[in-house]
Amino acid sequence: MLSNLARLVRYRGLIQSLVARELKARYRGSVLGFLWSFINPLLLLLIYTFVFTKIIPNRNELAQPYAVFMFCGILPWNWFSSSLMEASGSLVSGGNLIKKVLFPAEILPLVSVLANMVHFFLGLTILIAFLIYYQHWPDLAGLFWFPVVVLIQLIFTSAMSLFLAALTVHYRDIRDLLSNLLMFWFFATPIIYPWQDENVKIYRWVFQMNPFTHLAVSYQEILFFRGPVGQASWLLGLGAGSMLLFFATYWFFDRLRDSFAEAV
């Protein structure tokens, strides 16, 4: 298993070009091409702004401007959920590769995660533009935490992706199950409502069981709220847990590896 992990490092060139291919292929043939990576989140943010300031104004004074607050949580969530959806189908749709070309199968789900990470970064530029527009300056000290949160989310998402990808090969129902589960998970995470809300505080311990809570709240604390990053200890715990989870799911993936070429 460890030698397989080491082999992954040798294949970084392939991962790199597959991620590039994924990104290129996504917008190939469209007129605006790569600009869509910016336009999509921009339009989303504009719609939220309109709806939550004009139609149903969100008066929660903890989270103003509301659209920007929400966007801080939605961007990482989109990275997470799209990664899981794509990764879970990656081995099945890449079946041709697994059956005909010799290369480590875990590359495929990881490529899904990384390609979505690039989209996350592109969406981030839109968020920054809006933060500047609203003159909503984040804490500089907090920004130090930003790469840490991204790294932890990367490890956590990769771990989940490996597990789901391996399982989907054998149980195709995972994909449908997953889309419903993700919907539930989204509302169970403080993304569209602030974590500090009185109503949320009652169920705080439930929220703390949800790993993505700590990620979402951390992003909000770093980018949106002025003040210290209160999730630091939770975050580091999650980081350690994600590492363990990654090794566990990688082991699981490794166990099932030989069955992929036959089952996809």
Binding site: G13, L14, S17, L18, R21, K24, A25, R28, G29, N96, L97, I98, K99, K100, V101, L102, F103, L167, H170, Y171, D173, I174, L177, R255, L256, D258, S259, A261, E262, A263
Partner: protein, 449 residues
């Protein structure tokens, strides 16, 4: 030279079928906490059984066998794409597998980008690909289209590009699975030249193919797989010969059953031609009355009856498979139920298209019938069956001089003519070539055909 390039020892590969586990099993798997255990086989299918062979460095090794004999499985095991259930597979050196050409191509991006990604996938570095890029494109003959998205390529272009990338990986061991049919004659020759170059440079090639000529010409050794077992290995000429014999035997059995079934079907039908067809009989009686229709069948009054038809080969054995140029005899067993004075025996040969290759009878050949009673054996001997390779059908008949049929067997008997030469047409005249002047051929050219 000491360690072989490829070595399989006692390799068994059992494919599992994951049937009957489609619904509601994730739930039960989770409930019983048996996800890993549930992934065990429910049904198994042995693709390879106890196969051992080794290929020394620099050897070109051919694997032949029928469809489903395990050739491709063997190749996948060598490539490392699947793991053996039992036994060990050892490969020494960098492998490139021409199994599915262009397997990793993404349709939306250009040929150029795909070359890079495919190359990296096959184990090259970016730099190595840059160095070989022009060579790859030139080999694939795609200079004009290399920047177009791969989805716009024809299947031939796609395969050529895949082939070009795979072959430029510069492997120590090259695995080839029936991929020479990817281009026109010119491209095929280029591929063969490339293989020859590989051989000269002392690389190892494992070739899986149905093209037996290629194995004979090209390989140093050959392996014959049959139902997942090694049937023999060694000198390619000998192995190909043994394989061909087995194939012929199989075809012979097949043709025998086809013929038996055709005869049984018409015999099940009522013997007299005129009565309206009984609806429960399978034979479409109405159609059979037209003797010019190339529909198999049997009709006639049966006053004289053909009771058996046998094709005899040059070993005087009944057979259904003949070699072009060999003698063939058609033996009819005929019974006259009452003494007859007006009778004609006839035979004709048809190819699969229904074209009559040859037909004759005793009347045409001016044999005046005198008297026939009881049982007789009639042999129509062809000294040399000068037909090209193909499947042929046989008509045999007894009728009177006016054409009134006693017993007419329309295309009930099938036989196959085999030939080592893929010549065209129907008839192969005995021939030879003479060259006067400065025309010479390589010694491999076959002398007499």
């Amino acid at each position: 030279m000491s360690t072989p390039a490829i070595e399989l020892s006692h390799v068994t590969k059992i494919y599992r079928r994951y049937g009957g586990r489609q619904f509601a099993t994730l739930k039960s798997a989770l409930l019983q906490r048996s996800i890993l255990k549930d992934l065990q086989a429910s049904e198994t299918f042995p693709a390879l059984q106890d196969v051992s062979f080794s290929v020394p460095h620099g050897c070109t090794y051919g694997v032949i066998g029928r469809n489903g004999s395990g050739k491709s499985t063997a190749l996948k095991l060598v490539a490392g794409i699947t793991k053996p259930t039992e036994g060990t597979v050892r490969v020494d050196g960098r492998i490139s597998a021409l199994i599915e050409l262009g397997a990793g191509f993404h349709p939306e991006i250009s040929g150029r980008e795909n070359v890079f990604i495919n190359g990296i996938m096959l184990g090259l570095t970016k730099k190595e690909i840059e160095q070989r890029f022009d060579e790859i494109v030139e080999f694939a003959e795609l200079q004009e289209f290399i920047d177009a998205p791969v989805k716009t390529y024809s299947s031939g272009m796609y395969m050529r590009l895949g082939f070009a990338v795979a072959i430029h990986v510069d492997p120590d061991v090259l695995l080839v699975d029936e991929v020479l049919a990817v281009g026109d004659e010119g491209f095929t020759h280029k591929c063969l030249d490339k293989f020859a170059e590989f051989r000269r440079r002392g690389k190892t090639i494992l070739l899986v193919t149905h093209s037996l000529g290629l194995v004979e010409r090209f390989c140093d050794e050959a392996l014959w797989l049959e139902d997942g077992r090694a049937q023999g290995h060694g000198d390619p000429k000998r192995i190909v010969g043994a394989y061909l014999t087995a194939v012929e035997k199989g075809e012979d059995t097949l043709l025998a059953t086809t013929t038996a079934r055709a005869v049984a079907a018409v015999n099940a039908a009522p013997p007299e031609p005129p009565p309206p067809a009984k609806p429960e009989t399978a034979q479409p009686e109405g159609e059979l009355r037209n003797m010019f229709e190339a529909v198999e069948g049997r009709w006639g009054s049966r006053e004289i009856e053909i009771t058996a038809v046998t094709l005899i080969d040059h070993h005087a054995q009944p057979s259904f498979v003949f070699h072009s140029g060999d003698p063939m005899s058609i033996r009819l067993t005929v019974v006259a139920h009452s003494p007859a004075t007006d009778f004609v025996f006839g035979v004709s040969l048809f190819n699969v298209d229904g074209v009559c290759c040859y037909g004759t009878n005793t009347f045409i050949e001016q044999m005046d019938p005198l008297r026939f009673e009881g049982e007789a054996n009639i042999t129509f001997a062809i000294e040399s069956l000068d037909l090209v390779e193909g499947t042929y059908k046989l008509d045999v008949a007894v009728h009177n001089c006016d054409g009134y049929p006693y017993d007419y067997h329309r295309q009930l008997y099938t036989f196959r003519v085999k030939s080592r030469v893929p010549d065209a047409g129907i008839y192969r005249p005995r021939h030879h070539w003479t060259f006067e002047g400065a025309v010479t051929f390589k010694s491999t050219a076959k002398a007499d055909v």
